[in-house]
Amino acid sequence: MKFAIALFSPPSAPSSRRALRFAEAALQGGHQIVRLFFYADGVHSASGTIVSPQDETDVARQWREFVAGHGLDAVVCIAAALRRGVLDEQEARRYEREAANLPAPWVLSGLGQLHEAAQEADRLICFGGD
């Protein structure tokens, strides 16, 4: 089955970890993930500047390694990200901010990417909505 996965919560929320475990299980089960789309507070789950205590799970790092390891299409909504201070190098330069915190393999793009993924997938699975 082809899944599109949308995440709306930060890495501190249980739903971010649940989304990651679901995504891992989907691939292990032979399914396909057409795209991950991080929206609303979910953009924080892609942040590269989160520092977790050593004895706690670093969910943002696990997301990054999961995406990179599987070469997934992973999109962070640009409007949601900018207003929450999640910027890649290009946006940090454009808005003259001091730091960029959205490393590869994440890509900033628009809501059209969510709709496109939802159309392409058999199922859209959302995590962390209210």
């Binding site: 949308a6 709306f8 929206y39 609303a40 409007a79 949601a80 207003r83 628009g110 809501l111 059209g112 969510l114 709709h115 939802a118 159309q119 199922r123 859209l124 959302c126 909505g129 209210d130």
Partner: protein, 117 residues
């Protein structure tokens, strides 16, 4: 055949960007000519209140953006009748179909996909 998407908006307009972000999903879907529905539920119905004064809490008025929905082809607009009644709202700033719990169940069932914000 496109998959239909129901956006369920549950946030009050002053409660952070949630209301705006739910609306943006609906507007973007409309811009792509997708079959989109928008349901206002729980505190989300407060977005429909008439005579809001968002500038008093340094917020932008979302009502104008709501009016853009039909222009973007999003005409399937719904509100939970119970949520409206619980919050004392009779008039709404946008024409919406009011649904009871059976109507809500049928609505959610009718759509291929659902996003709740």
């Amino acid at each position: 055949m496109s998959q239909s998407l129901l956006v369920i908006s549950r946030q009050a307009p002053w409660n952070g960007p949630g209301a705006r972000e739910a609306l943006d999903i609906a507007l973007a879907g409309g811009a792509f000519d997708l079959p989109i529905g928008l349901l206002f539920l729980d505190d989300g119905v407060l977005q429909l209140a008439v005579g809001q004064a968002p500038q008093a809490v340094q917020q932008k008025d979302l009502t104008a953006n709501l009016q853009a929905l039909p222009m973007f082809g999003v005409e399937a607009l719904y509100a939970c009748a119970q949520s409206l009644a619980q919050r004392g709202l009779s008039d709404t700033a946008l024409a919406v179909e009011r649904l009871d719990s059976d109507g809500l169940r049928a609505l959610i069932d009718r759509y291929d996909q659902v996003i709740t914000l």
